[in-house]
Amino acid sequence: MAILITFIVIVCVMAAILGIDAYLILLERKTAAWVQDRHGPNRVGFDFGIPFLKRLTGGFHFWGLGQPLADGLKFFLKEQVVPDHVDKVLYFVAPSIAVITTLLAFAVVPFGSTPTPANPDAFPFVIAPNVDIGIVFVFAVGSLAVYAVILGGWASNNKYSLLGALRSSAQIVSYEIPLGLSVLVVAMLSGSLNLERIIAHQAMGGLFAWNIWFQPLAWLIFLAAAMAESNRLPFDLPECEQELIGGFHTEYSAMKFAMFFLGEYTHVITVSFLTAILFFGGWHFPFIAEPTSSYPGAAVVKLLVLFGKAVFFIFLIMILRWTLPRFRFDQLMSLAWKVLIPLCLLNLVCAMFVKHWSLSPWWLLATSIALFVGAGTLGTLLPSTPRKRVRPAVS
């Protein structure tokens, strides 16, 4: 019976994620258009030019909502071009790794209400409930996605793809560290790596127990590192259209290309859910979604609250894409190694002190702000760029 329920949940979640992925691509294109004062795709309705469907829908365009379906259909029907010079096995394995690992990482992420000490019998809205290494599992499996990029770039046997893969490996290895370190503080505060317990800890304490109050710095670092992990724009050096054509997916077309995209957008969804869960109280919201609220439909409200928070962060990630220009490679590396990692370590030390002497967690807000301002001050004091050496003129 339990296996049947799990199976149903898996099917629902996978279908939902793939559907949301398709519509996120539409949202991305719409957001891009709105930011650039355009309308975005608004022509494709649900008739696809078929006369029967056209009569059924009255020729209405539905504000372009049919676009993802048309795009998906196009990806399936396009010719599968496999260049002669690629490594056939790895070339096909890479896009599947991109999709499998990112979908797998979602297995332990709660997407609705979960049990708390106040209502221990609540149905857990998560595929694999009660995994004690939850957050570690997400990062362990999620970071396997780098193999998709590296293998795809290597198997393509193309210098642009290889350069993209090379950058990606350096980037992901660097940003894993601040990502893990920033989450470590949250795990320390909640006393668990289990995502449901982390939510329960915040939900039981109310609005002012959300980790964002104590760890705004960890949130900033987490967001930056997570965007780097999912290759989103300020950190999208692996694909980087202007320099590398398409980077690691230059040689990919049709459905294999779409699978890389699915992987990327699933990663964005996972990251947004994790942000909401780790720092913004998960499904908890004052008055309407408390652990004790038991009115009919409370589970749906909690699901919608968590989903709303996740959509907010997805949207934030999307408009950040149209706000920040791409990093240069040395800037990317120095941001991780010279800024984020030291800040994370200092933040961790502060959290250790607070936990050791059982101080109020509000001290962590003070230390976070102090570290942030301190980093800014240090940045103004240190030389920003290496000194340029002028080569003496050759006479």
Partner: protein
């Protein structure tokens, strides 16, 4: 001449202050700019529903003008086909059936695919018989369809004059009412009146005096 050390000027990057070094305030400011555009006005023209407002001197499909008696104005002088850099105008002249001119075009064919829409035919014409209209969405299924003969070019005249998009610009050398709108309103004098000689060549006031 090779570059020397003197010619190289090193530009120093402006030093960032404390506020910029925090980065986050600048990112938030950037997000504000992005968000303000999210709700701002749209610049896209929804083309098939919304037609573009083209200036009257737009160079689109040609037309052959008619005179007051509905005859073709052209006198088959070949000046347009001589001026044409793309050699897309083909004229066959014949003795005119009318007493006021020697010749008239028996056939007048423009290859609209070969044309580069430079407007030199219009400039060359001594009797203002050929003009470019603001029709721009010219399509066809075959190349043959895009060879516009005399009847087709005259029908373009009839349609554009009837639709009012392209009034006849000149009338036997005198500028017609369509020429007034060639001056965009912003370039007119402070009164803004259309049809004043604000941009007439004989007006020898300076630009500033005219209030441009």
């Amino acid at each position: 001449m090779p570059m020397t050390e003197k010619d190289v000027r090193w530009v120093k990057e402006p030093r960032m202050g404390f506020w910029e070094k925090l980065y986050v305030p600048a990112v938030v400011q950037g997000l504000g700019t992005t968000l303000s555009h999210l709700f701002g006005p749209r610049v896209t023209q929804q083309f098939p529903e919304e037609r573009p407002r083209l200036p009257p001197n737009y160079r689109g499909v040609h037309r052959l003008n008619r005179d007051e008696q509905n005859r073709v104005k052209c006198v088959a002088c070949y000046l347009c086909s001589t001026a044409c850099p793309a050699h897309c105008i083909d004229i066959v002249a014949a003795p005119s059936p009318w007493p006021d001119r020697e010749k008239y075009p028996e056939s007048f064919v423009i290859d609209e695919l070969r044309c580069i829409y430079c407007g030199m035919c219009e400039e060359a014409c001594p009797v203002d018989a050929i003009e470019l209209t603001t029709l721009f969405d010219l399509t066809g299924l075959t190349r043959r369809e895009m060879l516009f003969d005399k009847e087709k070019l005259l029908s373009v005249f009839d349609e554009t004059v009837k639709a009012g998009t392209d009034p006849v610009r000149t009338h036997r050398g005198r500028l017609g009412p369509a020429s007034d709108t060639l001056v965009p309103p912003a370039r007119l004098g402070p009164s803004g009146a259309v049809g004043t000689n604000a941009s007439h060549p004989s007006d020898n006031r300076t630009l500033k005096e005219r209030g441009v």
